[in-house]
Amino acid sequence: MSSSVIAVLIDAFSVGGLYALTALGIGLIFSVMRLANFAHAEFVTMPAYALFVLSGHPVIMAIAFSVLVAVVLALMTERVAFRPLRGIDPATMLIASFAVSMFLQRLLVFAFDSRIKPVDPLAFLDGSLTLLGADLNLLKLATVMTCLVLLVALTVFLKFTRFGLEMRAAAEDFTMSRLLGVRANRVIAMAFVLSALLAAVVALLFSAQTGFVHPRFGLQIVIIAFVATVIGGLGNLVGAAVGGFLVGVVSTLLQTFLPPDLRPFREAFVFFIVILVLLFRPQGLFPARGLKERI
């Protein structure tokens, strides 16, 4: 009994961890420029394709390349698409990011066609480990560990470095932080780079879990993470992480404990919860400061 509980928990945490990282990637950009970045889906998909392209080569090379792809892509979309729109109303920016996302997705279909491509970047983690009588998948354990490490690293970065301080200031009050010497372009570019790094990690872990990539690869995870950032409170990073984690855990638990007839509908429940949260806590469970619209 207890062994299966551990297995389910590791399952839930590995899913929740991926959602949390994705939600953080979205939340980082949202907090500094009020952009709900739908194109984060392609920030995840493109590095996964990079892993596919270099799949015969050493893992380190493939990973380095995929990180590079993610960062370059993020900086380019920021420069070309989102910088001209800075300061426009968030709804228009959401449509713009939707357009960027579709553009990149179709570019991928154009370049690679829309068929499923096999990838297995972390083949050496295929085994399992017996712990307290439970057979634990190594990859899932690694996912949980990576997520923990990254969360701690991100926290340290935001709390104790100059860049982190600037980002938190920009998130609190962008105009005021600029008056105090934070460079808008630099802090936004930094947010995109961090977001891209997180996306590359998600691409690596998620593609290792699923074993394939396709043009909608990132979309499935980003749609859910999107929702997680809303539940957690848009613009609040802790909220985004917690929200992502909660959504992952809840949907895994629903998968496990829902009667079989209802299992296919589990994501419908998740999205229903989202609407409820939006209605009763429009600012999310953990509202960000300074986000409330003023007149």
């Binding site: 709900a36 968030p90 449509i95 357009a99 296919p264 419908a268 989202v274 609407i275 209605l279 429009p282």
Partner: protein, 354 residues
Amino acid sequence: MTRPYTHSAQTARARPMLARLERLVPLLLLVAAVAGIMLLSSQFGIVQQRRVTLAFISLMSVVGLYVFMGNSGVLNFSSVGFMAIGAYVSALLTMRPQVKATFLQDLPGWLAEAQLDPVLGALAGGVAAALIALAVGLPIMRLSGIGAGIATLSILIIFYIVLGNWSGVTGGQRSLMGLPTYVTIWNAGLAAIGAIVLAFVYQESRSCLALRASREDEVAARAVGVRVVRERLTAFVLGAFICGIAGVFYGHFLGTLRVENFYLDPTFLYITMLVVGGMRSLTGAVLGVIVISTLTELLRLLEVGARLPGLEITLRAPAGLGDVVLAGLMLGIILFRSQGITGGREITLRGLRG
């Protein structure tokens, strides 16, 4: 054209009449444009006719999207979900009982037996979409901005998941086949004209003016007594009705329903059409559909391979380029002309003359 400041008592009395007629000009021009396209393309072959019919169906859907999103300024990603509801309701009510028995054994008896007249089935589809929009909209019309975007996206996803897994009624992941295919260029064109008329009459109404006031400034509109939630809900339900009817036509045009046909790709297509045309005017909605449909068609021809007349060169674009170009165009419009081609204005005679 009579200018307001032309003299004489007679024109002064005639002015309100003329002014009222002038208000109708955009409607007349748009209807004339659609009717013209309908008459012109009925001369073409069956393949082109089907393309134009599909464009008319898109037109209905985009007009339905415009009724809410254009007039209220609130994001809406759910319109295609209401198309799906219209399509499935009409399909279940109008398919032959024998066909239903083959694909959907678990239908409740009354539904398995039902076989309505296509017109009744279409109305039922539209009304079902409108009723569900009423139930769903009642709570979420309070949201604006990103919240509304996420909530309507969630609704689309919920519809998609439910329809895609409710195997007993919708066939689930399998296709639902055997819908009566009664859609022609004529009835689709007339329905599109009907949608335009409906949207126009609505946008000239008091309710819609109040809604537009809330689009420009929600707080100020509330302050002068506009009941924002109620006006939004009216538009949302009317828009869902039009989208539902569009879905009915779509289903009976294809003859086969797949939930995939009612998810993100068409959502993106219709939003592109609306944004490219200019989402703050009915003219923008219609123009966007015409421009994007024409462009799609040209790109498709290019992908097949087009021979330049008089030259030995064949132009051929790689497959999939069309989609990339469309998405790029959408992005370009948002970046460089965020109000769309029309800039949010309606078409007028004065505008046509330059």
